[in-house]
Every structure is written in structure tokens, then in C-alpha cells.
């Protein structure tokens, strides 16, 4: 009797001890890939699943996130999705926005920070009917007709200010899609160079597209953001997420097919060939000499400083609201 009691007691101690060791294990092994409970996080997109988000979906499909113990839910957005507010109020951990939104958001009290810029070049363009023979954006503004731009968007304010002299075109609000463009031969509109011009060409209307970036306004686009506090409190998680994201994008850039097929299931409104074309057309916007050296998603202070000055110049933020570049972004990934 005494013997078995002691035996039971010893065995219980061994079990108890092992459990505590195992329970400690995740903390001790935080840098290793094998853990018991992955972190559940959410990534809020600012549009529906499209080629511009391919790398993120690739991160899930090829298990890059999973291998870093991250369980990433990608939430699609739509027109007017309040991504900055979602991240600023800590409803989601990460979000995707355009670079200028970050500067404006900080001026309004939202403490969000840029971490990873997919698009090195601003993919916003102005598409015009090829038959009109425009040679530059200045031509577009100096000719009669209609130009649809999103009211109040910083890039629209920039263009209107830059080409204000001799302006003849009538700026009208942008309502989405390409229907007015197809119908009206003197209609020009904003577009994403990776989508609307492709759709228009498919519908038989050849478009000549001018990149807004060429006019001097060039914010990083499809930028990953997080709340400053979140980064401070979870530096390791953030780094894991960024590394896996970079792996996802590099993989997607090599071969987008798997992610494209997945995204098309989520967003069947875009035809397969357009999807494929978009993922090809966007490559030069994502890959540059800088990213080849420093890694996909790289950002520099100079770009942020210039963008800040431009936003003050068009009046979206006041001069006193402008902060230093270092408060707008953090580049945490090691160079290749």
C-alpha cells in the first residue's frame, strides 16, 4: 500500500512537471517554427481580392504565414472600406492602404504606421481614348471634355493644381467602372493601370493611359499598416508577419497562378484573362532596383518626406500637422 502510494505520487509529479515544461514550450521556442498555438491575426484589404493583393493570399496558400505560427484571416474590403479606422481603433491588426492615407490619418489622430509597400510606383493613372491622340496629362487638362476623378482625393487635388493653367476639361466625380468611358468618346477617367484599361480594351475601346506618378505624385501603394502601439507591444509577431509577407510576394511574383485561381473564386467578377494580365502588368510597379537590393516592400525616408510636402501643398493637411518621415514608416526587414 505504501509502495503504490509513493509510486502514484512520483508518477504524478513527473506528469505534472512534464506538463509545465510543455506548457512553457511556446515561450521558450518563440523563434522556432513549431509551436502549439499560432497567433490569430486579421489583415484588412481596401478592395476586393485582386492581383494587387496576390502576395498576401500567396502567403496563406503556400503556408508562409502558417510556418511562422500565424493564422492570417484576409478580410476583403470594398468601396469606402474604413481600413485606417479599423487599424487605428485596433479592430484588426494589419491593414492595406495607400501611402498618402497614412499621412492624412496621422494628422487626424490615427496613429498608424507603414511597414511594407507592395507598389513602389503609384499605379493610379488617367485613361483617355487613344483616338484623341493625347501626348501628356497636360494635353488632357487643356482639352475640352470630361475627366472623372474621385472628389477630394489627394492625387486628384494634386493634378488639378498642377494643370490649373489653361485648364479646359470639366472635372466630374468618379463613379466607378468604365461604362461612361465606353459610352462617351470625349470622356477620360482615373484608373488603376492594372485593371480598367485592360477591361476597356477588351470591350473594344483602346485607351491611352498616363501614369499619375509621371506627373510627380508618387505615394507607395498597397502599403501594410499597423497601429504604433501594436508594433511596440508585438515586435516579434510583426516581424514574422512581414517576413512571411515578403516571401509570399516573392513567390507570387515568380508564379501568380495559384493565388490568382484562389482569388478568382473570391472575386469572380473579373475574367480569368484579365486577372492574369493584371498580375503581369503590375510587376514593374512592384519590382525595382531598390527592391532587388533591399527586398520587396522596401521604403525610403525621401519618398515619405516628398509625399508629406505635397499633401501640405494641396491643402489636405496643414503645415503644422506634418510630421517627420520617420513617424510615418518603419522598415524592419533585413536587406537581402
Amino acid at each position: 500500500m505504501l509502495f503504490s502510494k509513493r509510486l502514484i505520487f512520483s508518477i504524478s509529479c513527473v506528469f505534472f512537471f512534464s506538463f509545465s515544461v510543455l506548457a512553457q514550450a511556446p515561450n521558450a521556442q518563440s523563434k522556432q517554427t513549431k509551436t502549439l498555438t499560432p497567433n490569430k491575426i486579421q489583415l484588412a484589404l481596401n478592395w476586393k481580392a485582386e492581383a494587387e493583393f496576390g502576395g498576401f493570399y500567396e502567403g496563406n496558400i503556400k503556408n508562409f504565414y502558417k510556418e511562422k505560427s500565424l493564422d492570417v484571416s484576409i478580410i476583403e474590403g470594398g468601396s469606402g472600406a474604413p481600413v485606417p479606422q479599423l487599424v487605428a481603433s485596433k479592430k484588426v491588426e494589419f491593414g492595406i492602404v495607400t501611402g498618402d492615407e497614412i499621412i492624412v490619418a496621422q494628422a487626424r489622430g490615427m496613429d498608424i504606421v507603414a511597414l511594407f509597400a507592395v507598389y513602389q510606383i503609384f499605379p493610379q493613372g488617367i485613361m483617355t481614348h487613344e483616338a484623341r491622340g493625347f501626348k501628356s496629362l497636360e494635353d488632357v487638362f487643356n482639352a475640352p471634355g470630361l475627366l472623372a476623378l474621385q472628389k477630394g482625393a489627394p492625387f486628384a487635388l494634386y493634378l488639378e493644381k498642377k494643370y490649373a493653367k489653361n485648364k479646359k476639361v470639366k472635372v466630374v466625380p468618379f463613379t466607378g467602372g468604365v461604362a461612361p468611358f465606353i459610352k462617351n468618346s470625349d470622356f477620360s477617367q482615373q484608373c488603376f493601370v492594372t485593371s480598367e484599361p485592360l477591361s476597356a480594351r477588351k470591350m473594344g475601346k483602346a485607351a491611352k493611359t498616363f501614369a499619375v506618378a509621371d506627373s510627380g505624385y508618387n505615394p507607395y501603394t498597397a502599403v501594410v499598416i499597423a497601429h504604433r502601439d501594436f508594433i511596440k507591444k508585438n515586435p516579434d509577431l510583426v516581424d514574422r508577419f512581414l517576413k512571411a509577407t515578403q516571401l509570399g510576394w516573392d513567390s507570387y511574383l515568380k508564379d501568380p497562378k495559384a493565388a490568382n485561381d484562389f482569388m478568382r473564386k473570391l472575386n469572380p467578377s473579373i475574367e480569368e484573362d484579365i486577372f492574369q494580365l493584371s498580375s503581369e502588368v503590375q510587376v514593374p510597379f512592384i519590382v525595382s532596383d531598390e527592391t532587388k537590393t533591399n527586398g520587396t516592400g522596401f521604403m525610403t525616408s525621401a519618398r515619405w518626406e516628398e509625399l508629406g510636402k505635397q499633401l501640405v501643398d494641396v491643402g489636405v493637411i496643414k503645415a503644422k500637422e506634418l510630421k517627420s518621415a520617420s513617424s510615418y514608416f518603419e522598415w524592419r526587414l533585413p536587406s537581402k
Binding site: R108, G109, V172, P173, G177, V316
Partner: protein, 255 residues
């Protein structure tokens, strides 16, 4: 004395409650329990109303114009077609189902189409306002003109009244209270329809809200919304005054 005190208290209490809400709202936003970019404080809203008063009040004027024109169209067409549908059964059977579409169609989805058809000016806004405010007037009108008691119609026939006399002296006055009920609802909807249309074209309050939203200026968004709301309340009182003026001497809406 006590009764009088109670009476003044009754009138004062709603106003007092409103002040308490305002103070609580100001305190909550100042203490940063709710961030300014989600919910601006009343003082911030007042400040931006003052700073941007030209923009806001010009926009209010536009919305006023657009919604009132839309409302006039829906009142006239709603009343006329309601009368026709009430009196000619076959017309009602054919066209009323389509009229219900006016009620159910999501205007915000149709608005881009309106811009394509009617251009980028105020016309598409007026049409949007009309679409949203038509149905209550139409429905009220059909009900109003169907409800005229047969006895009264018989009486007018016995007295050998002309059709025009019957409409002017019986159908229309009898229908007025119900028509006003429709107007109460349509007036508010006309404003909503105008603002939805203005998200996409024109220069009214909807346009201000859209631009302010793009630039994350929540204080301006709320200021525009507040003005739109006050406008709606104003229209409500106008309709009540009209009701009192035209039928108050014989019709109590509390009957």
C-alpha cells in the same frame, strides 16, 4: 402654482435631456474614450461649421433646391397617378407593381446609372430625390382616393354634380389628410434621396460628406450630417404647419 410648475417642467425636460446628452458627448470625446476620428466632439463640430460656413451653407442651399424639386415632382406625379390608379382599376393592376420598385430599389446602386443618364449636374440628384420620395405619396394618394365613401359619391350624383365639381369639392378635400400623411414621409425621404445622389454628382451636402470622408475629416462629415438632419426637422415642421393651415380647422390628426 403646482400645475403650472409641472407644465413648464414638462416643456423644459426634453431640452434639459438634450443638454445632458451634449455635455456627456463632449466629455466622452475630450477624455478620448472615443477617438476624434470616429466621433468628433460637439465643440469640434461647431468649430468646423463656423470655419467652413461658406462651403456648408452653400451646399445646404444646393441640397435644399435639389430635394425640394424632387419632392415637388413626387407630390404632383404621386397625387395624379394615385388618383388615376384609384379610379381606373386596370391601370392600377398593370402599373402598380412597377411603382413598388420605386420603394425597393437600392438607390445607392442606381445612382451611378442616373449619372450616366442625366449627367453630372443637379438633374441626376433631383431624379434620385424623386425616386426615393415617390412611393409614399403614390401609396397615400391611391388609398386616399379609394377611400371616398360611396354614399358621398352617390350624393354628388343625386345632386347632378359635374365630374370636375366632384373632384374639386369631394374627392380632393376628402383625400387631403391622407395625402398629407404621405407628404410627411416623402419630405424626409426627398432629402435622403438628394444626399445619396450628391455622393456622386452636384455640390450639395452629400458631396461635402463624400469629400470629407475621403480626407478623413470626421468633424466636417458630422457637421454636414447635422445640417442635413436639421434640414429634415425643419421640413417636418413645415409640413405640420401646412397641415394645420389647410385642414387644421376640421381635422385632428390624433383622431
Amino acid at each position: 402654482m403646482q400645475a403650472q410648475f409641472k407644465m413648464t417642467l414638462n416643456r423644459f425636460v426634453p431640452f434639459l435631456f438634450f443638454c445632458v446628452v451634449l455635455i456627456f458627448w463632449e466629455a466622452v470625446t475630450r477624455a478620448q474614450w472615443i477617438e476624434a476620428y470616429l466621433l468628433p466632439s460637439p465643440s469640434a463640430i461647431l468649430k468646423v461649421t463656423h470655419d467652413e460656413s461658406t462651403l456648408l451653407f452653400r451646399a445646404l442651399g444646393q441640397t435644399f433646391q435639389n430635394s425640394m424639386l424632387g419632392l415637388v415632382c413626387s407630390v404632383i406625379l404621386g397625387t395624379v397617378f394615385g388618383f388615376l390608379f384609384a379610379r381606373v382599376t386596370i391601370l392600377r393592376r398593370i402599373f402598380y407593381p412597377y411603382a413598388i420598385l420605386f420603394q425597393t430599389v437600392p438607390v445607392i446602386a442606381v445612382a451611378p446609372l442616373l449619372v450616366i443618364w442625366f449627367g453630372y449636374g443637379n438633374t441626376s440628384v433631383i431624379v434620385s430625390s424623386f425616386i426615393v420620395s415617390l412611393f409614399p405619396m403614390l401609396a397615400a394618394s391611391i388609398e386616399a382616393f379609394r377611400a371616398v365613401p360611396t354614399e358621398l359619391q352617390d350624393l354628388f350624383r343625386i345632386f347632378r354634380s359635374s365630374r370636375y365639381d366632384q373632384f374639386k369639392k369631394l374627392d380632393f378635400p376628402y383625400a387631403l389628410p391622407t395625402l398629407f400623411t404621405g407628404l410627411r414621409i416623402s419630405a424626409g425621404l426627398a432629402i435622403i434621396g438628394a444626399i445619396v445622389g450628391e455622393f456622386l454628382s452636384g455640390q450639395g451636402l452629400g458631396s461635402v460628406i463624400d469629400v470629407a470622408k475621403t480626407q478623413y475629416r470626421s468633424d466636417l462629415v458630422f457637421a454636414a450630417i447635422a445640417l442635413a438632419t436639421l434640414f429634415g426637422v425643419f421640413m417636418f415642421f413645415i409640413v405640420e404647419i401646412l397641415i394645420q393651415f389647410f385642414i387644421g380647422h376640421w381635422h385632428s390628426s390624433r383622431k
